[in-house]
Each structure stands twice: as structure tokens, then as C-alpha cells.
Symmetry: C2
Subunit: 227 residues, 2 copies
């Protein structure tokens, strides 16, 4: 799953947008197609954000969502990560594991997966700024989590918005790496008497659990959660 | 989900082993209990490894497994990550998302999750070294993926082992952060007419897909994959 990056920002989908998004290992698994990147982000609840401070390198999971060509995150103004991300470059990674790939030899075992690595610097989303306002960005987050819920809940008030920072990073410098399909054994291993194939993994949705104090009938998005 | 660490390596489970593993935000969700850490690692197929080189900070997903008080990874000798990890400190993070937490107000929405952050430096696992040999470590990896399969497959040969680096990092400097349970709304929002509760998420196992050329009947670990 190693992913790393060589071409200009408006390069064709097959070209890496920078040296560090050029995938070197198993390069046949690489993609710089925006549609692949968008799908990987849109299927994610969280991303992992790697950044540096005086204590070293950190890797922190946080909720994420996409609006156009940016990935958004949010956090308390006081959070170390929020404070540090304004200062320097970082790397944001999303990974979905789709299955275990069982080959006939130990070293040809693999995993099926979809991963995206984004490099760059986060910018703060202002009250009115960056095409998308802070409120519009947070409402898009709720729509990403549960479409249709925004209208029912008590929206954020001025105090809550003031205590929260919304950040976004451009998707310009990114690389995806994916693997799917059966194992690839060497010819000389095909007679090994081991079962070969894929053991699939996926995200599943469990039965919704209403809050003990909830007297509101389940709305559409709750009744359809498991569809 | 922000996780960051203050005490000695053999401190009680409730104490952080270092300043950078002291959880500051939502500290009630923090744990330094080894059993919690072990369970989070053992439930994971991959971890995210953050490290630095001359191009910046990187965050790369890679398969992981645990033996005792170390987390193990492996890679090709030529991989950038493998080469860089021997040079400096890194941060390894694992995250499981367990559900979306629907509160009555927008800003009290949350996620249920289990995450672990491990700081330190990887060491190379030698042919005979570090208590666990390279071969024993790779066999434990297979046992973690699919218990019982090791005996059927063609094991790694000298050439394959020579081209592969196995690395391990001690679990001494780590912090876990978890959230479970219902939403926590403010008293003044309890009358808001919005459904409240948890929309659960979990990893599911799909029907095994035999390789087109596979004539071997499904062994126990394949037939029981979905149990």
C-alpha cells in the first residue's frame, strides 16, 4: 500500500501532480484520476492527518468530508492539531480495506484496498470566505453524515461556531492506490494444494439504537440506514 | 478523536507514558490500559504510519500485527517507508469507526470509535534476533490474517525473505481514545424534535470468492469466514 508522487497540477489523470505523489512500488495500482479520489473520500467517515510539531510527527484520525476539490475537517480552536495545521505542510490519508487476498504462496498474499494520500497545507475556512462559508461547510458535513437531517436538529449557534475551526486542503497534490481481484501466484506455485481466493471485507451498518429519551419516530434516514 | 501523552513507562494504566501520549481534549475518552491497546491492534488489518523525510511528512497505510508488546509491519527492502523508518521517530495510528452519534443539536453530534496512537522508532527484526525471528514474525502475521493457513501454503523461501524487511515498534509509548454509547445533548436541547441515537457501523465479512483456478475445497477458515 505504499504510496508516494511527477508533473504539473493540471496533468492528465494518469500523471502524478508532484514528485511526492508519484507511486513507485506496485505502480500499476496507482491512480491520479479525480473521480477515483473523490469516491475514496466520499466513502470515508474519517481520515488520518499526519503533521509535525516540536514533539515529532503525529498521526491523528478525524472526521472528514469533501466539497468540490477540497477535503474538509473541523475541530476545537484549542486543539493542538488545529493550531499546528495552519503552520505547515501535512499529509492526509484515507484507507478502505476490501478483502484479504489468499495466494498459494505466503509472500504473494495481499489485501484488496482503496487508499488516497493528499499532500498540502490546510487553510482556515472563514465566516464568509473561500467560496464556501464556515456554516455552509458544516452543513455539508451533516449532509455527508446523514442526508436530510440538517433541518431537524438545533443548528449551531454563534458561540459554537466561534469555538470551532473549519479547515480545508486542496486535492491538487494527491495519489490513489487500489488493488482488487484475485491472487496473483507465480506459475510454479499453481500446484500447491492451498485454497486460493479472496476473503471480502466491507463496512456494514447495524440496527439503529434510539437514545433512551427519544420519543421521535425514526425518520426516513434512520429507517433506511441498513438498506 | 484528537489523541496526543505524562508518566514513566511502567506507570499505571490510567497514566500516560510520556508528554505526547497525554490526551488533552475529551480526556475522559483516553485509556493507557494495555488490554485496550492490544484489542484495538488485534482487530486491525492495517495501521497508518506517519514519518518524515526530505519531502515532508508522509502517512502510509500498511498491514500490521501484534506479538506481545510490539506492533509489527513488513515491506520490500526497497520501499521508501522501510528505509526511512530505520532513521527516525514515527507515529503509528489505528482507528475503528463504530457508529455515527446523532444528537439533538448539530455540534453535539459525534462518532463512536476506538483509536490507538503509538510513538517511537521501529527496529529491524533480524533472521535470529529480537526474541522473535523474522520467520516467526511473518508466520505470526499469517496466523493473524487467517488462523490455520500457514501449513497449507508454500512458505517463504530464502530469496523472498532476503528481499523483505520486517520491522517492529514497542507499545511502550501509546495512548488509546475511545467513545461508545448514546449522544450527550445539553439539557436545553432535549425538547428539540430530532431523532437521537446511534447509527452503528462495523466491519463485515463477505462471501469468500475462490480463485478461478482453485480446485481445493474450502477449508475450515474459509467456510467459517462469515461466522
Amino acid at each position: 500500500m505504499n504510496t508516494s508522487s511527477s508533473a504539473a497540477p493540471s496533468a492528465p489523470p494518469s500523471a502524478a501532480p508532484s514528485p511526492r505523489t508519484q507511486v513507485k512500488r506496485a505502480a500499476n495500482r496507482a491512480s491520479h484520476d479525480p473521480a477515483v479520489l473523490h469516491a475514496i473520500i466520499d466513502a470515508a467517515w474519517v481520515c488520518h492527518v499526519a503533521f509535525r510539531d516540536e514533539h515529532g510527527v503525529h498521526c491523528i484520525p478525524t472526521a472528514c468530508w469533501r466539497i468540490g476539490e477540497h477535503l474538509y475537517i473541523h475541530g476545537s480552536n484549542g486543539s493542538r492539531m488545529v493550531k499546528r495545521l495552519a503552520d505547515g505542510e501535512c499529509c492526509v490519508t484515507i484507507t478502505h480495506v476490501d478483502g484479504l487476498v489468499m495466494a498459494r504462496s505466503a509472500f504473494n498474499h495481499s489485501m484488496n484496498y482503496r487508499s488516497a494520500v493528499i499532500y498540502g497545507r490546510f487553510e482556515t475556512v472563514g465566516e464568509y470566505g473561500n467560496e464556501v462559508s464556515k456554516r455552509a461547510a458544516m452543513e455539508a458535513f451533516m449532509e455527508h453524515l446523514v442526508p436530510g437531517r440538517q433541518e431537524e436538529i438545533r443548528p449551531g449557534n454563534d458561540k459554537e461556531y466561534a469555538a470551532t475551526t473549519v479547515l480545508r486542503i486542496a486535492l491538487a497534490e494527491a495519489a490513489c492506490k487500489t488493488r482488487s481481484g484475485p491472487p496473483e501466484d507465480d506459475e510454479e506455485d499453481m500446484a500447491v494444494a492451498a485454497w486460493a481466493g479472496v476473503l471480502p471485507l466491507r463496512e456494514a451498518r447495524g440496527t439503529p439504537v434510539p437514545d433512551a429519551g427519544c420519543r421521535i419516530p425514526a425518520p426516513d434516514y434512520v429507517r433506511r440506514w441498513q438498506e
